[in-house]
């Protein structure tokens, strides 16, 4: 086999792969970004909802009555 066609094949595969990266089906690896399941209780709304209760719980539990 001549060498040029191999290069061409590699190039074709590479461009195919690179093209795939741009598609919606492919996930880019972003280091340092959470990869796990979402936790509904971790949201801004959830935290806001419970913050008042948690504040008064701290006052009740930790101040010397």
């Amino acid at each position: 086999m001549p060498r040029k066609p191999l290069h061409l094949l590699a190039l074709a595969l590479l461009s195919g792969a690179l093209a795939a990266c741009g598609s919606d089906q492919t996930t880019m690896y972003e280091p340092g970004v959470y990869k796990g399941k979402q936790d509904a209780a971790a949201s801004e709304e959830a935290a806001e909802r419970r913050s008042g209760e948690l504040r008064s719980r701290a006052e009740r539990g930790f101040t010397d009555r």
Partner: protein, 196 residues
Amino acid sequence: MARMKFLCDAERCIECQACVTACKNEHEVPWGVNRRRVIVMNDGKPGEKAVSVACMHCTDAPCAAVCPVDCFYTTADGIVLHDKDLCIGCGYCFYACPFGAPQYPQQSAFGVRGKMDKCTFCAGGPEEVHSSAELTKYGTNRVEEGKLPLCAEMCSTKALLAGDGDIVADIYRKRIITRGGRPQTWGWEAAYGEGV
């Protein structure tokens, strides 16, 4: 919004281990895994001091920075949690953590063999709130019920404080004013990057 923090008042800690067993009780943490423990300095000598240590839920959590599978996340109220389904038990977070918080059960206890386990600030994990998956993998979710970590709530002398950082710091500052002396807030600065 409230920002959850722990603070252990070393002047009040009497090494009674209530925080340790409260945690065991609440989450049924298996034998050999200690999400919280009491550390004693100068044991048996004048100057003996103790402090209760667990995951401090750092502002800039070093564990998250080194995790090769990115299983850590921080809730909107500042609690650092992780997904045990992703965790590979590599131990990097143990090296990174200034408090030695991460724990690795040897056998199947919380989830699968070798997954890292640590204090959740009694806030469960990335599963449906109060589901049995959350309970068995991470323990109970008190925060969602408006309660704070049981270790602090049951502390014998109210040495261990937990909750919104502003309130915790406020309670502690009042004590310092009453009794005089310098604040000794073990780990606070390392965890939250600021003084009380």
